[in-house]
């Protein structure tokens, strides 16, 4: 019943993903090998985590373009602390920083009523700049082997530990969002904020927590990035905001809010991760990566907007027509 609403959109995305693999497989059969598929999914783990976080914000009808800078800053903080031997702090402090950035964004959007695109564009600039200040523009290198190794260990010989935990997290969050009372507020708030307010749902509070979740997940993404890449440059995570927003949209999450699921974000992130590898297997330069992501994003958003506009127009006409019909019956009575 409820699934009827989410699953079709995520299903389309899964079909898209499968077709993409099959299509590329026709050109280059090696692409369809089990190990390549796994490698592709595992390589998308950072996108997936950040996309799941930002999905909460997008589903409430807002946007967060500061995730790239959040990821970069938290990765740099984690990297320096771990390099200097503070393993525990290197994990905890970045998470706190991520939450703090989410709190700042949430505060600006819900209490100061700054449009979320502007608020997060501003914080994106601030925290990107802070990476340069913090690292003095230098790369963070020489991370201990055991830290870097955390990203390599496999579970059941297939998924990396990170991807496995991400999938478990996805399932838990999916149930949180569809089954729990506060979890369902996110979609309600994005779907019709006034209606939600009328039902006593804390609209601003829900949006606020969405930003905090997004900040936290960007920080988790930052930790994973530090582990996986092994060094952090000042431009780490740059452009991730477009990738993860595109991932959400590809996964069936509407930018106008109220539509979509965590599963969709995960599938969308897998598609994003695949595109880079597809280019390699088709013999194209990966320079096309961002261009293709951008084109996909716009095609889907335009398609969505056209559908929404026509249905809103239909509703308006129907409503106006209903009044006339009623008038006829009254005057004839």
């Amino acid at each position: 019943m409820r699934k009827q609403l989410n699953i079709p959109r995520a299903t389309t995305s899964v079909i898209f993903l499968v077709l993409m693999f099959l299509g590329v497989g026709l050109v280059n059969p090696r692409f369809l090998s089990f190990s390549n598929i796994l490698l592709t999914l595992n390589s998308g783990v950072v996108y997936t985590v950040v996309a799941i976080g930002i999905a909460f914000v997008i589903i409430t009808g807002e946007i967060d373009v500061s995730v790239g800078a959040t990821l970069g800053l938290t990765a740099a903080i984690s990297g320096t602390l771990v390099r200097d031997g503070h393993m525990f702090l290197g994990i905890v402090v970045p998470l706190i920083v991520g939450i703090a950035i989410g709190v700042i964004n949430g505060f600006g959007v819900t209490y100061l009523k700054i449009p979320s695109i502007i608020m997060t564009l501003g914080t994106n600039g601030i925290f990107r700049g802070m990476i340069y200040v913090y690292t003095q523009g230098k790369w963070v290198e020489n991370l201990p082997i055991n830290f870097k190794g955390a990203s390599q260990s496999l579970i059941f010989g297939t998924f990396t530990r990170f991807y496995f935990f991400t999938l478990v997290g996805m399932v838990l969050l999916y149930f949180f969002m569809t089954k729990s009372r506060p979890g369902r507020y996110f979609r309600a708030v994005g779907d019709n904020p006034n209606g939600a307010n009328l039902l006593g749902i804390p609209v601003q509070g829900t949006k606020f927590s969405a930003f905090v979740i997004s900040g936290l997940f960007a920080a988790i993404g930052g930790l994973m990035y530090a582990c996986r890449v092994g060094f952090i440059t000042p431009i780490a995570g740059m452009g991730y905001e477009m990738k993860v927003i595109a991932a959400c949209v590809l996964g069936g999450i509407s930018l106008t809010g109220g539509v979509g699921s965590i599963v969709g974000a995960t599938v969308g992130a897998a598609i994003m991760a695949s595109i880079s590898r597809v280019l390699v297997f088709l013999g194209f330069s990966s320079d096309y990566d961002n261009t293709i992501t951008g084109i996909l994003l716009i095609i889907i958003v335009v398609f969505d907007a056209v559908i929404q506009k026509s249905s809103a127009e239909k509703m308006r006409k129907q409503r106006l027509a209903a009044k006339i019909v009623q008038g006829e019956e009254v005057t004839d009575a």
Binding site: Q4, R184, A321, V330
Partner: protein
């Protein structure tokens, strides 16, 4: 007088289901509610009627906790409640079914109904099924709310309220978009709820419904309850009278103008609308003569603005014809309609009318941009035109470069009218030209309108202020649910007639009552 007699009959009860006492509310300097007392008992259906802007919706939003009152108290069953937010109202069993259903379009009916409950979904599903069985409503709970008709959405809203076991249900114009059969079904439900002791506040614009469904009635006008009591004490005529202002409040604005009678026999209409159908209006026929003011009365939502904007090329026309002189302008774009000599001064200045952060000069001449075929804007032309209208309308500005948004409402309206005139139209549609402006400015706008009339401009005056129509119009039509339901010649334009027609009461019915 009759009103005073009825007013005295209303006794205050302390243990009513709902009592509001001396509620006041202002938005900026605008006093919307000026001390409202209202009581609702168990099993009451209280019909609340009043013109647009009387404060009905504001009052309901205060009871629902969406707005907070400036002063006054809300009591539920004798207990003082601080309605700080909607969840407080919901917890106390108050539920508002808004005029435009506020569903979550992307969720299923079931999700919509069950949203925001603390109970387990299983229990809720069971209660919902029982409730729907009791009411004998058949609606597929798995459908997406988006796909429901307005009537179905309204039913879902009511289900929501009932499932919350609300004791007070506020229905804001519930029948405004329902068909005849759906209205009958709704009335049956209301009767049923009444017998279960639920108190209902029923806001409506249809006086007939008051007598069908309500046992008590209250009339709001200008932020006050002017009349209330058991329905049996009233008839149609008394309600219409209650809706009218006490005395002519605009008296100070009366403009003494020589009214040249229009020679309808010899003149040809400059503007004709024939069997026009569109979104929100049906089969409209109008004729407008040079130098004539034709009033178009009705309540908000009657389809007048939709008619005007469609003629102005902003919405599609389904069938019928519009002529200026002999020229057919049906379905032309806004730009072409303006070039053919028709302009429209919109109802909502803030949304459509002004460029708030531009100066007066830019605002006055901005509609000229479409007419002057040149690429560059002529500065001197702009200044001349602007100055001419500032002088003509006695607009209070510090200079042509004053920012539009800093002008008072009345002066903004003058600039907006000036802008429409700057295109030198032959036909002007004014939509609520004096809404939200003070008495002095209103007088100025009226004299502007008279001035234009004497210059031979044909004016279609859309107004919900019937006094305005009485004062200015040579002829008047009334619109009711998308159709013209009354045509009045100069002598028949009275507030009584317009009010009755706007609320869908026929003359015959008043005569019988």
């Amino acid at each position: 007088m009759l009103k005073d007699k009825v007013f005295a009959m209303e006794e205050k009860k302390s243990s009513s289901l709902l009592s509001v006492r001396s509620i006041t509310k202002s938005f900026h300097t605008n006093k919307v509610l000026k001390g409202i007392d209202l009581d609702l008992d168990e099993g009451d259906v209280l019909a609340l009627i009043g013109g647009n802007g009387a404060g009905k919706s504001t009052l309901m939003k205060i009871i629902m906790g969406i707005y907070q009152q400036d002063s006054g108290d809300v009591y539920l069953s004798g207990e003082l409640i601080n309605m700080s937010k909607p969840s407080v109202a919901l917890a106390h069993g108050v539920y508002l079914v808004p005029q435009e259903p506020m569903l979550f379009p992307n969720m299923s009916v079931e999700e919509n109904i069950m949203m925001g409950f603390k109970e387990s979904p299983k229990e809720l599903q069971k209660r919902l099924a029982t409730l729907m069985q009791q009411l004998d409503w058949k609606i597929d709970v798995n459908r997406k709310a988006e796909s429901l008709s307005i009537a179905e959405q309204q039913l879902v809203e009511i289900l929501r309220g009932l499932l919350r076991e609300s004791r007070i249900l506020i229905l804001d114009e519930p029948t405004s978009s329902l068909t005849f059969n759906e209205v009958q079904a709704l009335f049956k439900i209301i009767e049923d709820l009444k017998s279960k002791g639920i108190g209902i506040i029923y806001i409506t614009h249809r006086l007939n419904e008051v007598f069908t469904i309500a046992n008590r009635v209250a009339i709001m006008r200008d932020g006050l309850i002017t009349l209330s009591g058991p329905v049996t004490n009233f008839d149609h005529e008394m309600l219409v009278e209650g809706l009218l202002p006490d005395a002519l409040t605009h008296q100070e604005t009366k403009v003494v103008a020589e009214i040249k009678p229009i020679e309808y026999d010899t003149m040809k209409p400059i503007f004709k609308v024939e069997n026009l159908c569109g979104n929100g209006f049906h089969n409209i026929n109008l004729q407008l003569y040079p130098g004539e003011i034709l009033g178009l009365a009705g309540v908000v939502g009657a389809g007048r603005t939709e008619l005007a904007t469609s003629i102005f090329g902003r919405d599609e026309i389904i069938s019928g014809k519009v002529y200026i002189g002999e020229e057919d302008i049906t379905g032309m774009s806004t730009r072409e309609v303006m070039i053919h000599g028709l302009n429209y001064v919109p109802e909502d200045r803030y949304a459509h009318g002004i460029f708030g952060i531009s100066d007066v000069s830019v605002n006055t001449t901005s509609s000229n941009l479409v007419k002057k075929g040149k690429f560059f804007v002529n500065d001197k032309d702009e200044k001349d035109i602007t100055q001419r209208y500032i002088d003509l309308f006695r607009t209070k500005v510090t200079g042509q470069d004053q920012i539009m948004g800093s002008l008072s409402g009345g002066n903004q309206q003058k600039v907006v009218i000036a802008r429409a005139l700057a295109t030198e139209p032959r036909v002007l549609i004014l939509d609520e030209p004096t809404r939200g402006i003070d008495a002095g400015a209103r007088g100025d706008v009226y004299s502007i309108i008279h001035q234009l009339k004497s210059q031979g401009l044909a004016i279609l005056l859309i107004s919900s202020d019937f006094e305005e129509i009485v004062e200015l119009s040579d002829r008047a039509h009334s619109m009711y649910f998308g159709r013209i339901n009354g045509e009045f010649s100069k002598n028949d334009i009275t507030q009584d007639n317009l009010m009755a027609a706007a609320f869908g009461v026929s003359k015959r019915r008043i005569a019988n009552a």
